[in-house]
């Protein structure tokens, strides 16, 4: 069975906002934004493979990633933190968002472990963007981007 269902913008917005509000203890709200391109300082991605094949990725600025890590670890954003802790926090954020997106899709699929990188992410040639949520936290850019892998979903 191949799933062609794509979560709506409302579904994705709800997932991002709920995960953010629950796990990231900060008084600053995550606001809707129109970004001038995707931030590329921190990228985190999980892939979903099975009845639906694609990726769920979050991109954010370094400051936004530090806000995420500080919020999850109960630290101040200006405290010194290791890249390892930032990567762990951003990776867990995409893991939870990806798991919730996978639950919206139904069917039989596997969720990968998260991969976190600094810098620009190049997607496979058959990847087609099917959803995007753009946000800002303290004017720092955060984006969720969903891709399907057309070749695998057509097979």
């Amino acid at each position: 069975m191949t799933i062609t269902f794509i979560p709506t913008q409302d579904d994705l917005t709800s997932v991002v906002d709920q995960v953010w509000e629950t796990f990231i203890a900060t008084d600053e709200p995550l606001l809707p934004a129109e970004l001038d391109g995707l931030p590329d300082e921190w990228n985190a991605v999980v892939t979903i493979d099975g009845d639906w094949s694609g990726s769920v990725a979050m991109a954010m600025t370094d400051r936004a990633a530090r806000i995420v890590a500080a919020g999850m670890l109960g630290m101040s954003v200006d405290e010194e933190m290791a890249d390892e802790d930032i990567a762990d926090a951003v990776g867990e954020l995409i893991n939870v968002v990806g798991g919730n997106v996978k639950s919206l899709l139904g069917g039989h699929s596997q969720l990968s472990l998260p991969v976190v990188a600094t810098g620009h992410v190049v997607h496979p040639g058959d990847a087609v963007e099917v959803g995007r949520i753009e946000r800002s936290i303290q004017t720092e850019a955060v984006a969720l981007v969903i891709h399907t892998f057309e070749g695998e979903n057509d097979s």
Binding site: F23, A69, M72, G74, D85, V96, G98, G99, N100, L111
Partner: protein
């Protein structure tokens, strides 16, 4: 009481432990495992009163940890705290012997609603 918290993310283990405290279970001894194989070893060595485990982990998935424990006759109370809460996964967790599956994101109230039946 002793609670084994298994998650490959250190950040998530800290959030789970913080949520346990917020839900009123802060007085319990906590043991941490950073992957599935470690969780299986500590579940035997430490004889916890409850295991709270992630599903997707390196080395060994949480469901494999649970199945290994049960096949060895270990009946430690076991619950999942995982990023996926699909009906399929809930059914698989239940048939393997899990008491509950808490989907992330969770709150202290979510924890208390499940843990009050066990602790």
């Amino acid at each position: 009481m002793k609670i084994l918290v298994a998650d490959d993310s250190k950040v998530m283990r800290q959030i789970v432990i913080r949520t346990l405290r917020q839900a009123g279970y802060g007085g319990n001894e906590i043991v941490e495992a950073a992957n599935g194989r470690e969780a299986l070893e500590l579940a035997v060595q430490e004889a916890p009163d409850l295991v709270l485990s992630d599903w997707n982990m390196p080395e060994m998935d949480g469901i494999d940890v649970l199945e290994s424990l049960r096949s060895a006759g270990n009946q430690v109370p076991f619950g999942f705290v995982t990023s996926e809460g699909s009906a399929l996964m809930r059914a698989r967790a239940e048939s393997a012997g899990a008491l509950f599956l808490i989907a992330k994101p969770f709150t202290a109230d979510t924890f208390d609603a499940e843990l009050c039946k066990v602790i």
